[in-house]
C-alpha cells in the first residue's frame, strides 16, 4: 500500500496550472482523442480528465489489485478438482512419448538418418534431403543424437496437438464473426505473454517433465495454426464462394470442397510457424525437466560451459532448418 496524490502523477504539474490554461489543454486533449480515436474515446477522455481535476488535491490509499491471488486461487481450485484427470493424461502421454523416443533410439542412427533423408526427399526434393542427411550426421557426430531425437519427438507431439486444436478453431473463427472477435484478442494475449509463464501452472497439472513442456508449448504454439487456418479460409475469393452458393452448396460442402482445399497452402505456412514456435518453446521447457537439446543448453548454462552450450544451440538451429525447409516446401507444393 502506498500513499499517493493525483498531483504527484506525471500529469500532476498539469493539474496545478491556472484554470483557464487547464481548460484549454483539456479541450485540446479531448479533441485530439476525438480526431484520433472517435467520439467514444473522446468522451471517456473528457470524463477521465474531469474526474482527475475534481480529485486533484485529495490523497488516497490505493490498494494493489490482488490479481496474483485471484489467479492462484482459481488455479488451486482447478488443480484440487481436476489434477487427477490431467495427471492421468500426463501418465498416458508420457508413456506414448517414451515409446516414440525408445523406438527412435532402438534403431541405429544411420538407419534413422536414412529414413529421414528419404522422407525429406519425397516431401521436399533433393536439396532438402541433402541438408537433412548432412545435418543429422553432423548431430550424430557431436554426440547429440539422443537429445535431438527427444526434442524432435516433443516438437512433433506438440505440433500434432496444436494443429488438431488449431484447425477446427480456425475454421470456426472463419465462419463465425462473433467467434472471430472473441478468439483473436485471446490469441494476441497468449502470444504476448512471456512463454515462461505457462510453465508454472503446467507443473501442478501435469507434473515435472515432458508433458508439462508439451502443454506449455501447445499454448504457445497454437495461435499461428488458428490464425493461418482462418486467414486461408477467408482469403478464398468471394467470386468462388458465390459460384459455390449459386450451385446450392451447403456450408459443409463449401468448406470441404472449396475453402479448405484452397486454404491448404496458407494452413501449411501456419504449421511451419507452429513448428518453429514449438521448437523454441521446447528448449525453454527444459527448465521444467523436458530434457532434449534444451536440457543440454540448460546444463551448459549451469556449468558455464560455453563450448557445450554452442554445440547444443547449433544442433537446435540445424533441426529448425530441416523442419522449416521441409514444411515450407510442402506449403509451396500445394500452391494452386
Amino acid at each position: 500500500m502506498e500513499e499517493l496524490s493525483i498531483s504527484e502523477l506525471p500529469l500532476g504539474n498539469l493539474l496545478s496550472l491556472p484554470l483557464w490554461e487547464t481548460v484549454i489543454i483539456f479541450a485540446l486533449l479531448v479533441l485530439l482523442s476525438w480526431w484520433a480515436a472517435g467520439r467514444l474515446v473522446a468522451a471517456v477522455t473528457a470524463i477521465g480528465l474531469g474526474v482527475m481535476w475534481m480529485l486533484r488535491f485529495q490523497t488516497f490509499e490505493i490498494e494493489k489489485v490482488p490479481l496474483d491471488e485471484w489467479v492462484e486461487d482459481s488455479l488451486n481450485f482447478l488443480t484440487d478438482h481436476f489434477a487427477f484427470v490431467t495427471k492421468g493424461i500426463s501418465k498416458l502421454t508420457d508413456v506414448g512419448i517414451d515409446y516414440v523416443i525408445d523406438g527412435l533410439m532402438y534403431f541405429p542412427p544411420w538407419l534413422v538418418i536414412l529414413v529421414f533423408t528419404f522422407l525429406a526427399w519425397r516431401l521436399a526434393g533433393r536439396n532438402v534431403a541433402f541438408l537433412t542427411a548432412v545435418g543429422l550426421v553432423f548431430l550424430w557426430n557431436l554426440h547429440l543424437w539422443k537429445p535431438t531425437m527427444e526434442t524432435l519427438t516433443l516438437v512433433l507431439f506438440a505440433t500434432f496437438i496444436s494443429v488438431s486444436i488449431g484447425v477446427p478453431l480456425g475454421v470456426m473463427a472463419a465462419i463465425s464473426n462473433t467467434f472471430y472477435r472473441i478468439v483473436m484478442p485471446i490469441l494476441d494475449f497468449m502470444q504476448t505473454m512471456p512463454a515462461f509463464v505457462y510453465l508454472i501452472p503446467a507443473i501442478p497439472f501435469f507434473g515435472l517433465g515432458a508433458v508439462s513442456a508439451i502443454f506449455a508449448t501447445v499454448v504457445f504454439a497454437v495461435p499461428p495454426s488458428i490464425r493461418f487456418t482462418c486467414l486461408g479460409i477467408k482469403q478464398v475469393p468471394a467470386e468462388l464462394i458465390e459460384a459455390a452458393d449459386a450451385f446450392g452448396s451447403t456450408q459443409t460442402q463449401k468448406l470441404l470442397k472449396l475453402q479448405l482445399p484452397l486454404a491448404v497452402p496458407t494452413m501449411m505456412a501456419g504449421v511451419n510457424q507452429t513448428i518453429m514456435l514449438a521448437l523454441s518453446m521446447v528448449v525453454i521447457a527444459a527448465m521444467i525437466g523436458a530434457g532434449g537439446l534444451g536440457g543440454e543448453v540448460w546444463k551448459a548454462i549451469q556449468r558455464l560451459k560455453s563450448g557445450m552450450g554452442f554445440e547444443a544451440g547449433l544442433a537446435i538451429v540445424i533441426l529448425a532448418m530441416i523442419l522449416d525447409r521441409i514444411t515450407q516446401k510442402i506449403a509451396k507444393g500445394h500452391k494452386v
Binding site: P237, E239, L240, E242, A243, A244, D245, A246, F247, G248, S249, T250, Q253, K257, L258, P261, L262, V336
Partner: protein, 395 residues
Amino acid sequence: MDKIKITNISKIFGPQPALALQLLNQGLGKEEIFNQTGQAVGLANISFEVQEGEIMVVMGLSGSGKSTLLRCLNRLIDPSQGQVFIDGVDITTLDHEALLALRRQKFGMVFQHFALFPHRNILHNVEYGLEIQGMEVDKRREKARQSLKLVGLEGWEDAMPRQLSGGMQQRVGLARALAVEPDILLMDEAFSALDPLIRGDMQSELLQLQERVRKTIVFITHDLDEALNIGSRVVLMKDGKVVQIGTPEDIISQPADDYVKRFVENVDKSRVLTAHAVMVWPRLLASPQDEPAQVLANMAEENLSSLVVVNADQTLAGIVRMETLTQAIERGDKTLENSIEREVPTVTAKEPLKGLISILATWPLSLPVIDKQRKLLGIVVKGMILSALAKRGNH
C-alpha cells in the same frame, strides 16, 4: 405461365432498409436517398416477366444494378421488398433448405471472371453442380463429359483451369452451368472479359447452343451491341430502375428517353434494324390483268420507272419495267401477263439492313418484302435505308 416473374423488387444496401424503402416509395431518387440516409439503392421497384425459352438481356451502365437484379433471381442477394416467382412459386418465402434445393434444380450461373475452382481440373469443375446434388461418381462424370462436348472442349478434361485461355475458361464456366441441366441460365457479363473477336464467337455459339438446349436465359451486359445481338428482349436499366423493356428493334427504333437514345447512338444499326423498320407500302401497284397502256400512264404520272405487280390474293407476281411495257404496247398485249419479270429478289421482314444493303447493291429496282405465303408486305428502295441510318444516327 411466365418462367420468371418479378414484381416490384427493390434492394437497399444499408443497415436500415425500411427507412430508405419508405423514401423510395415516396418517389425519391437514388441520389437523394443516399444523401438523406447514407444507404445505396441497388434496385428500385422493378417488375417484368421472362418467358420460357427466351433470352432476356439486362443492360445498363456500371452501377445500374444489373448484377444485383440477377442475384435476386436466385436469392444470392435477398431483395428488400417485392416478389420473385419462378414457375409460379414465390421464392422470397422459401426457407434455406428449399432455397438450396431450388438453386440445385433450376439454376445454372456463369460469371464474368469465370469463377472456376483453381484446385479442380476441368472435368471436376464441370461436375461440381452434380456433385453437390449428390449424384454418383460415374454418372456425373459422364454428364460432365457430355456437357464439355456441348461447348466443344472434349479432350481438355484433365487440364487445370489456369492452363486454358479466357475463352476456353468461359466455355468451361458455361459447361459447368449446363451440366446440371438447369431450366434457367443466369449469365453475369459472361463475355465481358473476353476480347472482341472471341466475344463475337461466343455470342453466336451461345445462340446456336440455345437452338438445341432451349433454356430460359437471363443475360447481363453493359454492351448494347451484345444485347441487341443475342437478346430476344432487352431490359434497359439506369440507377436501379427500368428505363425500357422491348425487342432489340423497339429499343433502336423507339428509344424511350434520352438515356436510351445516347446508348443507341453508337450502335451498328445495320445489324439490328430489319426490313420491317424501313419498308413502305408502294404508292402504286399493278395487277396482272391491268392494261399496259394504262399502267404506263400511271407510272409516268408518279414518275416511276418500275412497278410491283401483285395477284388478286395480294401475293407477289413480280415487277414490270417501263421499257418492257413500251414493248408490250407495241406488241398490242391486252394484259401485263407477258411483261412481268417473275424472278426478282425478295426478302422477309426480318432481314437485317446489312442483308438489304448487299442485295440493293446489285438490284436497282424496289425490293419487295414478303411473308411466308409470298404476300406482299411492302417494298424497300435504296434511298430509304440510307435515310433510316442517317436519321437515327443524328440524335
